[in-house]
Structure formats: structure tokens, C-alpha cells
Amino acid sequence: MTSIDPTPRPRRNVELVLLVLALAVGIGANALVGVDQQKAFDTDFWFQSSLLAAAALAFHIVLRLRAKYADPVILPLVVALNGLGLAMIHRLDRVGEDTGNNQLRWTLVAMAVSIAVIWFLKDHRILRRFTYISLAASAFLLILPLVPGISAGEILGARVWIKFGSMTFQPGEIAKITLAIFFAGYLSSNRDLILLAGRKVGPIQFPRFKDMGPMIAAWLVSIGVLIFQRDLGSSILFFGLFLVMIYVATSRISWVIIGVGLIAAGGFVASRVFSHVALRIDGWINAFTDEVYGRAFGGSLQIVEGLFGMANGGLVGTGLGQGRPNLVPFANSDMIIASFGEELGLIGLFAIVLMYLLLFTRGFRAALGTRDAFGKLLATGLSFAIALQCFVVIGGVTRLIPLTGLTTPFLAAGGSSLLANWIIVGLLLMISHTARGPVDTTPLAPGEEPDPQKVLPVMPSKPATVPGTGRNSPDAPTEAVKL
């Protein structure tokens, strides 16, 4: 992961080949599901398959036009995951249910939005302008579900939904992105200050109290989400996101220690004070006791049924359409990993988890490759968020950690999550485009102005301080980046 290819190559043809493979996986899975239900290769199937393929190809073409140096593996990975999710959700639909087609509609919408982000944003560094707007947007999005009239009320114990007419949406999913943009913008601007000031206690340098501001803010957001929205999963995700970004910005392990200490203290108090947290923990530790298993609300039936399903799948699985994943509550959303475990077995699930691993690794790679601190922070934050979200979900389903209500990216049924994750993919693709693209290192001719088309907006507070940097060098760096 260290060296950057000296001669940038677009690799778009590689992407096309991988994309065909990815479509084959998703559409093939959908066909297998249909075979079991005696309706393989009907008009519905061809219609759905062509839509998915057309959308994927459109995305590919947009990348050729707008971000031709983007990482060629990211899009195929995501299309494969999304296709598998569509097939499984379709398979889990009972008579009269149509979650599968709804998910397909959301997939198309999400891909369109992601394409639009790439097309109109052109460069991720522009987002840095929106640092504080992002903060405001995050706060707005997080407060929305609590506003009477828009709020969809308490669904399954959490207040994270808003409604428009009959449609519901989880604004917290989008807040994940806006928070990442804020953290990246704030930290890339202020990291010097945070780094240099502070008191050294033993080997650890502690930051000044006033530099702790953003940390306290992030902690408050996490705890606020936990208390007011009763959403343990998102709370962990937001805090993890911030922690990793501040660590990357400062390279100081002391921040991680302080952060983990804060969240541990908050979590401990929460588990004592809030019944929903205590129930989650009880349902995790005592999952196999009669009392907890039979509890009507907050019991362990869901997780235990999921474990039974996965055990039933064993090493090779029952085969798509051959298991009984519907015995598990929320088989197509929170517990979709258990559904895959049952029908595709450990082997299939390993393949899926490996796809996630590759996906976030590619994201980290883009973070390493890009030359601006903002891009590095944003790519790291978003990639880590995907990894953390997978860990929290799959860890919860396998009873490694308490089960929380996070969605499995790209697989689980749910429009908000799809939309947010496809936007993340769009951002990662853009960052990887700058990371892998050519750098114009010829010095500016005397008196030549940087090409406003190419040079990125410079934060007013941070004028370019390093003379002689290439003219195309993005975002006059806040530090001499060590590659």
C-alpha cells in the first residue's frame, strides 16, 4: 500500500470486466432464487436484471467521463454486494410483499444520486468549503426524527425515522456523511493547533482543554443520539468515525485513549440509566435463558433464531431459496447476514465479508494516495465507517457484541442506508480518482496564475504556505505531506 503507481493508468477496462462479473453474481443469485419459486426468467426477472445492468453500466460510463482514474475495483464490489442484497430480499419476500422491487427502486435512485454527486461535484476538495454547513446539516438531520409532525415516532424502540406521506427515511444515515465532511474539514484546518499545544504527562501529550471542543462535541452527539433517539448502533458509529479521524489527523494515540475512556464512561452510565441499553446487553449475555428468550420486547429471540439459521447453514449453506431464513425476525434488514449465512453457508459469508474488506481497503488506499489532508481524512473516515458498521452488525448477529440496529451496507433492505452508502462510494471513487491520477509537478512559470479550473479553492484561513509546490498541487497543503 505504500508506493503509488508512477505512471497513472485509468484501468477502466478492468473495471468493465469486473463489473460484468459482479452483475453475473447478483443477477445469477436472483435467477437461482426464481428457480426455487418456479418463476425463473419471467419478464419481471429480465426487467429487473436489465435495469440493474443498465444502471451499473451508466455509472461506469460516468466514471470514464468524469473520474477516469478512479479505483476500478470499488464499483464492481458494490454492485456485487447490492445485487446479492436484491436477490436475498426478493427471495425473502412472502406472498404479497414487494420489498424486492422497492429495494431495486431505491438502488436506482441511490446510484443516480451517486452519479450526480460525481458529475456535479467534480472534486471532493470542494466539500471542504462546506465544513461548518456540514456541521449544521448534521445537527439538523439528527434532530429531524425528534420533531413532532415529521417524526415517524418510535419504531421498534428507536426514534430515528421521519416520514413523508407513506415513505419513511432515516436521516441519521446521511448525517454519517455530513459529520465525516465536518470532521475532515475541521481537523485538516486545525490539526497544527491541536498538535502543537498541550501538556505532556509522561509519554503522552494531552491536548489543551479548549482543543478538546470538537471531541466533546462529538461525544455529546453520540450520547445525544443514544439518549434521544435510543439508537446505540449509530451512537457507536458516529463516535468511532470521529475517533479514527482525529487519530489520523494527529497521529496521537492519546486522543484514542481519551476517546475510548469517554465512550466507556458514557456507555457504562447509559447501561445503568437507560433500559434500552441494558436490555440490549442482557439480551446479548443471557440470550439463551428462558426469561430473556421469551421476553416480548427486547428479548433475544431475534438473535437466537439468527444463530440457529446460521448454524443450519453450516459450511456450505442450504442453497439459495432452500433454507428458512424467514423464521428470523427482520430477516431482510437487520438480520440479512444470518439469512446469507443460512443459505450460502460460511463459505458464502466469508466471500461477502471479504468483499467488504476489499472495499474498505480500497478506500484506505485512496486515503493514502490522495495528497490533500482533507481527502485523506474523509476517505479514512468513510472507509472506517463501512468497516465499523460491518463489525457492529455482523458482530451483533454472531453474538460477538450486543446486537444493535445498524444496517448491513448495500445488503440490507432500506432506502436511506442504500442512498447514504452509494453517496459514500461516489465520494471514495472521486478521492481515489485524485489519488491515482497524474500530478502535474511542473513549477509555475514566473507570473503565471494557477489555472482556476484546476486549482482547488483555498481555505481563506489557510493560504498556501509552501512555495514551489506544483501548480496542480491540490489544496495548498496544511503540511508537507509525508507519503
Binding site: 439463551f288 481497503t361 468497516a387 463489525f391 454472531t398
Partner: protein
């Protein structure tokens, strides 16, 4: 900064290593344990649409898998559902399985160890998996007669066995239900039916046991047979012993008095022989025996007759153990418990087992419901033989109690159970529930000199007159039906 990014990546990889470990544990290492969990319906449902073996009574299947549509090749169907529901149980896609469908699942599904070679054959020949059929010892005519003898809307159970072999000839209870309603493949109807049936008092579909093996009831005066056996085996009493028979017993320090039954002839004497006390079912003689022998002696005798034991393994049907209190009782409680009230509870099957042991010279046979398990090609996989379970009392004491039970029918309060030309032994019981309602019992056997059949009837929650008409006279009908075969 890049080093920190690499470290963050390493942290993410570490999380994924944990995920890989957890997945491997759940799906491979710990999978067997999860599959064996009692809550896990999947193992049973795996074979839901397979050709499951039939449950056969008198050559006719009462539960069988019939060819259905393509999505589920076989549908479980119950013929004569109500009389057999307590024995077959149900096989439901959403609600799991109960009864023999559960306890004999391995055989019925074809997954028992003995059927291993058949499974291998099916695998290679590509045949549909087919389970073994289970033949029961039940007599279809007696089963139907017994079921019809309990009026609809009345709670009650009847158990008919052969005391010499332990074979169950009939075992019914009401209210019953139609298992087809919850074996349907329509999940909506299945759920609605399940909820509806569970509302009926006396039906609990979540439980795996039915009335005859599961209802724990106060046995009332039929428990006096155990007092009698305990008295005779203690050596302190013999067949001619004269027992105190006061009209009522009082206990120091408490208000409560234990009266004799007011309706009979007990009040005519202050002392009684065993024969008289049993014939008239007087309470005070047996209470005084219990107080004389002590709680341990009664509890010990009850255990020898099967109290505290789970017959489930022998019967292949889940059953609740009956109990006589083991924690120390005061005199008043012991006196009441010794006449089958207060703290003592027994299932209809337990009372039948006790009766059968007396009929069989003191030797209690294993209760047995399974006549044979046959592979699809009719080869017997297992044919349980009659086996003695335990010695409940000596042959002499058994013979003596037998004789007294005959006199209860000939000269006492079970006279309605008499069958012309046959010596019938019997004992009635009336356990008071308060509000004037009782559990009304009859238990007995015939012919007394060569017992072929033991009958136990209990009707729950009835007044004395109704109870009397639904117990002894019905026992007579069952004795006649069995003996005239």
C-alpha cells in the same frame, strides 16, 4: 499521517478478523450445539415436506403424509384428528411439533441411527427420503368409545391399559383439537387457528403433553389404595385390623376438622375394617393410618407405585411426574394428603399405573404405546417387548387389595361398574375443588382373577351426581367392550 491511516486500516482488519472468527464459530464449531437446542425448530422443519412415516393404529394411519403440490411435496394429514390429537400431537411449520410427532421424530423422519443404511440407499438411488411408520398399541374401537364417553364440553381423561403387558389400549382426553388446523401450509390460517385453539380452556398447544399424561390432579380417594398398601407392608396392620373411624378428626391448635363422607354409611360405625373403609370410602381410618405410619412411609409407597417418576421415556410421550409432598407436613396436611387432597397430585396415567400394578400381582409393567416401528419396506426396526418397570408391592398384598377392590364394586360405592358374569375390581375417588365441584375418579380392572384390562376415568370439575354417572357406569362399558372382543 499515512502511518496513522495504515494503523486505522490495521484496526479495521483486526475487527474483521474477529468477524471471521465469530462466523466460523457460529457456523462450524458451535453449530452442533445450536442445532441441538430445544428452541431450534429448523432441524424438525428441515424434513417438513418429506414423506414422513405414518402413525398407525389397528392397521389404519391416524397421521400420514399425503402427496401435495410441487412447492411442498407432502402434506401431513391427521385422520380422526380429535380422538388422537393428544397422542399424535401436531407437526406445524410455524409452531413446531408436539406429541409422538416430536418424540418419534427421528424414526418418522427417517433419521434414526437404525435407518442410516436406508438413507445412504436413498441418496444413491435418488429416491425421496421416506420415514419409518410407527404402529401403536392402541385399539381403535376402544379409543373411539372412550373418547365418546366423555361428553363434549366436559374436561376429562380416560386411560385403558393391559396390566400384564403395560400396553396402552386407549388414552383420550377432552377438550381436544384438530391438528390439521395447525399443520396447514397457509401461514395466516395456521397462526389464526393456533391462537383460536389456545383460547379454549384446557387446551395449551404450547405444552407438549395432553390430559392423560400431563394433567396433575388431586386423586381423591383412589389414593387410599396406596395408604392400604403402605399399612399392610408396614407389618403393623393385617387384613383383619380394626381401624378407628370417628365421624371427624380434629387437630390440636387449628380450626380444621377432617370429616368422613356424609353421603355413605361411614357414620354407622366408630371402627371399621379395611373392607368397610374402602367400600364406603371413609376418610378417617386412612388419615389415622397415615398419622400412625408417618409421612415417609406413605411417600415411599407412593413412589413404588410410580409417583415422582417420569414415564416419558418408556411411553415415548412426554409425561408429567405425579407427586406426594416430600417437604415435612403437619398432621392436618398429612391427614388430608393421605386421602388424596391438598398437596398430592397425580396424572390419570399414574393412577392407571398404580391400578395395573395391583392387578398384576404387585409388579408394575412399563407403560408402552409403541407396538412396532417399521421401515418403508415394512421391515420391523424395533418391536418393544413387555418389560417390568418395578415391584410396587408384594403379591400377597396385591391379592388382598384386589379382593377388597372387588368388594367395593360388589358391595360398595362403585357398584355401577359391575359387569354381569365378570368379577370387577374398582375404587372411586372424589377430590373436592371447592364451590361444590369435584374431580370424579374411577379406577379398576377386570376380570379380578385374571386381569385383562385396567381402566382409569377422571372427569374434572363436576358435581357429585354428574361425576358418579360419568365414571363407574362408563368404566363398565369399557370393561365390556374390551372383554367381549
Amino acid at each position: 499521517m499515512n502511518q496513522a491511516i495504515r494503523n486505522a486500516w490495521i484496526a479495521a482488519i483486526a475487527m474483521f478478523v474477529l468477524i471471521f472468527g465469530a462466523l466460523s464459530y457460529v457456523q462450524v464449531v458451535g453449530a452442533d450445539e445450536l442445532e441441538a437446542n430445544a428452541w431450534n425448530k429448523r432441524t424438525l422443519l428441515q424434513n417438513y415436506c418429506n414423506d414422513r412415516g405414518a402413525i398407525i393404529v389397528g392397521g389404519t394411519p391416524v397421521a400420514e403424509s399425503v402427496a401435495a403440490d410441487e412447492s411442498c411435496k407432502f402434506q401431513r394429514t391427521y385422520n380422526q384428528p380429535e380422538p388422537y390429537a393428544g397422542i399424535t400431537g401436531y407437526f406445524s411449520r410455524s409452531f413446531g411439533v408436539t406429541g409422538l410427532e416430536k418424540t418419534m421424530n427421528k424414526e418418522l423422519a427417517g433419521s434414526s441411527d437404525q435407518q442410516f443404511l436406508d438413507r445412504v440407499g436413498q441418496l444413491f438411488l435418488g429416491n425421496q427420503p421416506k420415514g419409518a411408520s410407527v404402529e401403536l398399541t392402541l385399539d381403535p374401537e376402544i379409543q373411539k368409545l372412550a373418547y365418546d364417553l366423555i361428553p363434549d364440553g366436559q374436561r376429562g381423561s380416560i386411560v385403558v391399559t393391559n396390566p400384564k403387558t403395560g400396553a396402552i389400549l386407549a388414552m383420550v382426553s377432552k377438550p381436544s383439537y384438530d391438528p390439521n388446523l395447525i399443520a396447514t401450509q397457509d401461514p395466516v390460517a395456521e397462526a389464526a387457528n393456533f391462537a383460536e385453539l389456545n383460547k379454549v380452556p384446557g387446551i395449551n398447544l404450547n405444552q407438549n403433553v395432553s390430559g392423560p399424561t400431563g394433567a396433575l390432579l388431586a386423586p381423591g380417594s383412589v389414593f387410599k389404595l396406596i395408604d392400604t398398601a403402605a399399612a399392610l407392608s408396614s407389618g403393623k396392620y393385617n387384613k383383619d385390623s380394626v381401624l378407628p373411624n370417628p365421624a371427624e378428626m380434629s387437630f390440636p391448635g387449628i380450626q380444621y376438622t377432617l370429616p368422613n363422607y356424609a353421603g355413605g354409611n361411614c357414620y354407622t360405625r366408630n371402627t371399621a375394617t379395611f373392607a368397610f373403609a374402602l367400600q364406603q370410602s371413609c376418610n378417617t381410618p386412612f388419615a389415622s393410618i397415615a398419622l400412625d405410619l408417618g409421612q415417609a412411609a406413605i411417600a415411599d409407597q407412593a413412589e413404588k407405585f410410580g409417583f415422582g417418576q417420569d414415564f416419558g421415556d418408556q411411553l415415548k410421550l412426554d409425561s408429567a411426574p405425579s407427586f406426594f409432598p416430600t417437604e415435612e407436613l403437619d398432621d392436618a396436611s398429612l391427614a388430608q394428603s393421605s386421602i388424596g387432597q391438598r398437596d398430592v397430585r397425580a396424572t390419570p396415567l399414574q393412577i392407571n399405573q398404580m391400578t395395573a400394578a395391583i392387578a398384576n400381582g404387585g409388579v408394575q409393567m412399563q407403560p408402552n404405546l409403541i407396538k412396532a416401528v417399521r421401515s418403508p419396506d415394512l421391515r420391523p426396526i424395533s418391536e418393544p417387548k413387555p418389560q417390568a418397570l418395578q415391584t410396587s408391592t408384594t403379591p400377597e398384598i396385591a391379592r388382598q387389595i384386589n379382593e377388597w377392590m372387588v368388594s367395593v364394586v360388589d358391595d360398595g360405592i362403585a357398584s355401577k361398574a359391575a359387569v354381569p358374569g365378570v368379577k370387577v375390581a374398582g375404587k372411586t375417588g372424589t377430590a373436592e375443588l371447592g364451590d361444590g365441584l369435584n374431580n370424579s375418579w374411577f379406577t379398576g380392572f377386570a376380570p379380578a382373577n385374571d386381569p385383562q384390562v385396567a381402566v382409569t376415568i377422571v372427569i374434572e370439575g363436576v358435581d357429585i351426581t354428574t361425576g358418579a354417572t360419568l365414571t363407574s357406569p362408563n368404566a363398565k362399558k369399557i370393561f365390556e367392550a374390551v372383554l367381549n372382543k
